[in-house]
Amino acid sequence: MTTLLEVQDLSRDFGGVRAVNRVDFQVRQGEILALIGPNGAGKSTVLNMVSGVIPPSEGEIRFDDQPMSRVPGYEYAKRGITRTFQNLQTFDDMTVLENVMVGMHTKTKASLFSCGMSLGSARREEQIMQARAGAWLEKVGLGSLSAWQAGSLPYGKLRLMEIARAMVAEPRLLLLDEPAAGLNHTETAEMSRMFQEIRENGTAILLVEHDMDMIMTIADRIVVLDQGSKIAEGTPREIQENPRVIAAYLGTEEQEDSRG
């Protein structure tokens, strides 16, 4: 498998705080890489840098063998990187369908003028967009809600909508920040299945999540961060048995039992 995303020596400071410290890892084509770690470990910060929302303080991110440091944030989607957000960033006053259609922005190109004049090309594009956005909504199970105002959807549905929005852009790398937060067991399982399907279709996923059920079921490899630094990398089984990871993140079985 070839490398899709390569992160080298990545660091990020906020004021005096080093949130991410010399992290490197790779995401290969068509795999699910999970990024886990305690709260404040720097996972979201890594994701923000990889998606171009904030610039790194040091280090390099290469996507498709191209350096991304000079690429403006809005170019990322075009290159094939889209994402969801830990604190939902939905367009509340638009319908669910429109939300997803925004995701297709880079896939369309009608100009301001032709949109305003509603020229034929713009309208054809619009129809294609609607069809494709609708198809993705069906896929995440929101087909029946496509005409709803996004603002009135419950949290869990919005997460699904964000995923659809990120997927219509046909990314090659999908970044997910705690997609299962606030979902119950059944919902999480459903979501896991969907991610696997996405992977089958060739899109790689970089997944940040605290839900170990999900991680252990679907991740191909896991990178563990603690206090900004990488402390482990490996397959789910390796990580589960890594004493450093257990101490910093998972907790021991005894703790579990004493409460169970």
Partner: protein
């Protein structure tokens, strides 16, 4: 079991024209830990907000101890002994940790002396040593878990008899999520605080609860002791499943 500290009668709540709670009855006895389970959008948060007075569009009745508080606004409910740790923590992000804690006690201020509260604050710091370490840091720069501790610490300083916790482990690493629930238990045993707990992690929540309610699309689907709920087949399939320890 003591007598009821909280009673909710046929609570209905709306967002705009849409009703999301369709008549909920609920009771929490003194000294209990009661869990409120339910899938996404079932109305758990809305119910807690109705109880504490944050949500205005509602019908039904709420009693705290023997007083009706249905129409008492949130800022006054606190003074009657109920504290609410809302969803997503809601700490004061641009204030220091210390100020956040002071604010928790602020409504008791003229009556209880500053020195008294400082003493209580010391016990909170004892319980959450990391907060003592970060006293002067701005709340917003804490990590998720630390923020959660701050939110609970802050609520404790209002000396509640009844504590409402809305998904305290949302977005927390497994280790900390466990710790938080342990702390809930400790609080109850040390101070006798009654707790109404909303959690997605049903297994963990039921483990520390005496009783539980299961909400489904705005109605109570099931209620009973934790044991009963745990063994209910519907709950098992929908909310408990297998946990990662079993993988």
């Amino acid at each position: 079991m003591g007598k009821a500290i909280l009673r909710v009668e046929s609570m209905r709540a709306r967002y705009g024209p849409v009703e999301v709670l369709h008549g909920i009855d609920l009771k929490v006895n003194e000294g209990e830990i009661v869990s409120l389970l339910g899938s996404n959008g079932a109305g758990k948060t809305t119910l807690l907000n109705c109880i504490c007075g944050l949500h205005g569009a509602k019908d039904g009745k709420v009693w705290l101890k023997d007083q009706e508080i249905t129409r008492v606004p949130a800022e006054l409910v606190v003074t009657r002994g109920m504290a609410h740790v809302p969803e997503r923590r809601q700490i004061f992000s641009t204030l220091t940790v210390e100020d956040n804690l002071w604010l928790g006690a602020s409504h008791r201020m003229p009556k209880t002396s500053k020195r008294e509260i400082a003493k209580e604050m010391a016990t909170v710091y004892e319980r959450f040593p990391i907060l003592a370490e970060r006293k002067w840091q701005l709340g917003g720069t804490l990590s998720g878990g630390q923020q959660q501790m701050l939110a609970i610490g802050r609520a404790l300083l209002s000396r509640p008899q009844l504590l409402l916790l809305d998904e305290p482990s949302l977005g927390l690493a497994p280790l900390i999520a466990k710790e938080i629930l342990a702390i809930v238990q400790e609080i109850r045993s040390q101070w006798g605080t009654t707790v109404l707990l909303v959690e997605q992690n049903a297994r963990a929540a039921l483990a520390i609860s005496d009783r539980a309610y299961v909400l489904s699309t705005g109605t109570v689907m099931l209620e009973g002791t934790a044991e009963m709920i745990k063994s209910d087949p519907r709950v098992q399939s929908a909310y408990l499943g297998h946990s990662h320890e079993a993988v």
